[in-house]
Every structure is written in structure tokens, then in C-alpha cells.
Subunit: 209 residues, 2 copies
């Protein structure tokens, strides 16, 4: 299937959402044409545009509309894109990707975004105990990535897959989460390998409305 | 593919792990023959049985060994089982299942297990702020399930799928998480529908070594 067969694609996202960035980055790396629509998350859920509310199962970004079907959950969208295009690991057995995608959803895709949220947006209200708890989880998760990347350049295969895209997203904002990535040199090298790929750009550049 | 084509299946799990329970329950509902091996999580990672360490990518339970391949992450295993057997939603478009599976991994499969962990196993050491933060998330997640179940008997389809199995697992231990489920009557009804299925048994009954 060629990228063009993903016709009428629309991505709803928000520039502060690393989960939106995952999908936007995958679309750029795959060369899939799409329209990007920014959703203002400061507007209460019930007052967001009707077309977004109709498309969004959980009321959250990102949502990807591909023809008639609307899909929520960034990792579900990544899996859909890989399987439809055959790129970013789409030719591999699904299990090799889903292991990492579910790890991400429960581990580094939870700890780092919530740590960033607490430190950048909730700095005055977040409990110090909650911040410390999230940080201890984030450190373990970065340790795990650093360990995995000691033997191979990307998480699953010799080239980049959606597993890398899912796990890297929030790590392009390390300072917002209060993380000094130089403690995990293989993670730093891996982020540089990803950012050298044709089509890569940082979150705020890609997620411009 | 018949259940018997999943030959030589081994599930590594632990009786206190709701993530193990998800997989064990799916195997029973699908009628897939398997051997269950309990992993003692009190034994440090490096000292666990070599066969388990070799099979387990993340050092965690559950791990499902199906012939020569070992698969970690409970939801990745559920997806594998559904696709291989065609049961529990395996005949549906994958996207309808993955949306819920990734939601679970990041939401109710994070909040409720960690709340249970803090309240049951870390009662003397867990920060009250962390417990309150986890509880506020768990309440939102239960609200979401209750809302979704207002229109249909199961989350994705008119019959049970792996989305239900993933989301229900820890909810059979509500008291250990300090949750009174009677606040969400549709969730209670849904748990009763699942527990009425042939092959269902509660976590401690299924996860006997």
C-alpha cells in the first residue's frame, strides 16, 4: 500500500502533546500526506469543535482520521500506520512492536509526560512527593532504554521503527521534565540517530498549527 | 487456527499480578492448553530461574512462550492470542481493540494496580500524596468505563473481547485498592457479565501454581 492510499487523513493534535508528536513525526518519516488540526486543550472538552468530539473516543489528542474511521491512542495510530504503509517496522511480526509499545504506554510514556506536566505546568501545585515518585519511575525507565540500546542502534531492529518513535517523543523536551539525559549516553546517541532521519523535526516545529 | 496450534505454550506469572491474570483468564476463556509457571517476585531479578530470565524481555511477569517465541507485556500477549485464535475479538479490525488496550496500559492498568500496590503492600511507606494522586486518576478511569458501558454490555462489541479482559483484571480486587465499585453500577454489572462466562474464575483461583 502506498502512502497515498491513506487518503483524506487528518491528525488532531496539540503542540504541547508528545503523544501528538509521535504520530506527526511518524507521518513525516513515512511521507504520508495529511492535514494537521490543532486542538485547543484549554477549551473544556464539551466546547471543543464538534468534528473533534465526534472523532475522539476519549476526548483526548491525538486522533487520526483515515477516510471514514477515527482512531484514538497514539500507539494504536502508530501501529495502524506501520501496518498500512509497511514502513517503520510494519514488515516485522507485530509482536516485536507491541511489546515495546505497551511497555511505553505503561512506563516511559507515563512517567516522563506526567513528570513534565508536574514540573512545567503544575510547578506551584504539584505535590513534591508525587514529583519524586514520578521521577524515580522515569529514571528506571531511562535506565531500561539505555540498557537495551547498549547492544543495538534502535530498540527492535537495525533501523528505526514505531517502537523508537513512541519511546523518544517526550525525550526531546528533557529540560521541561527536569531530566539531564547525559546520564544515559546511549539514549542521547539514539535520540541523535532519530533526529538525523530525513523528515525529522523537533516537536514545536512539527506541531505548528 | 485452532487452539491446539498454539503448542508448547507456557505462561510465567505471579498470583498477585493482575497483568498475569489477564493472560491466564484469556487462555481459559479461549480454551488454550498451556502450562502455568509461578515466578517468585520476592527473588531478586538476577536470581530468578534462568529459563524465565531468558524468556523475559523486561524481567517482569507475565511472559508467554509459544513455541520458540517469548512474548512480554500482557496486552501484547492478549492481542497475539486473539489474532491467533480468532476469539475474544480476534475477528474484529485490530484498531478497535488496540484503542482500548493502549488506553488501559496508560490509564486503568496503571492507576488501579499502583493504587493497590501502595495500599496493600506499601501501606506503611507510601506517600499519602501519591496515594491521593493515584486514586484521583483511578476514579476518572472508572468514570470513563462506567460511561462507555452505559450504551453497550462490553467495551468494543456485543460480546466479550480482550479489551474487556485487559480492563477488568485488577477490578476483581477492589478492596485491595480501597475502591468501592458500587459507585459505578455499570462497571459492577459488566464485571458480573464477565464472571458469568464459561471458564472464568477469580485471580487467586486461576493463578495457583
Amino acid at each position: 500500500m502506498t502512502p497515498h492510499a491513506l487518503h483524506l487523513s487528518v491528525l488532531y493534535g496539540n503542540r504541547e502533546s508528545g503523544h501528538s508528536y509521535k504520530v506527526k513525526l511518524a507521518l513525516h518519516l513515512l511521507g504520508v500526506e495529511h492535514e494537521y488540526r490543532e486542538v485547543d486543550l484549554d477549551v473544556p472538552l464539551a466546547e471543543r469543535p464538534a468534528e473533534f468530539r465526534a472523532a475522539s473516543r476519549f476526548g483526548e489528542v491525538p486522533v487520526f482520521v483515515d477516510g471514514d474511521s477515527a482512531l484514538a491512542q497514539s500507539n494504536a495510530i502508530l501501529l495502524h500506520l506501520a501496518e498500512r504503509t509497511g514502513g517503520l517496522g510494519g514488515e516485522l511480526p507485530t509482536e516485536r512492536l507491541t511489546e515495546w509499545l505497551f511497555w511505553e504506554a505503561n512506563r516511559i510514556g507515563f512517567s516522563v509526560p506526567n513528570l513534565r506536566m508536574a514540573r512545567t505546568y503544575g510547578a506551584e501545585t504539584a505535590s513534591l512527593d508525587v514529583v519524586a515518585w514520578l521521577e524515580s519511575r522515569a529514571l528506571k525507565d531511562l535506565e531500561r532504554l539505555d540498557h537495551e540500546l547498549s547492544a543495538q542502534p534502535f530498540l527492535v531492529d537495525s533501523s528505526v521503527t514505531i517502537a523508537d518513535i513512541a519511546c523518544c517523543a517526550y525525550l526531546y523536551w528533557p529540560e521541561q521534565a527536569g531530566l539531564d539525559l547525559t546520564r544515559w549516553p546511549r539514549v542521547v546517541d539514539w535520540l541523535e540517530r532519530i533526529s538525523a532521519l530525513p523528515g525529522w523535526a523537533d516537536p514545536y516545529e512539527l506541531l505548528r498549527a
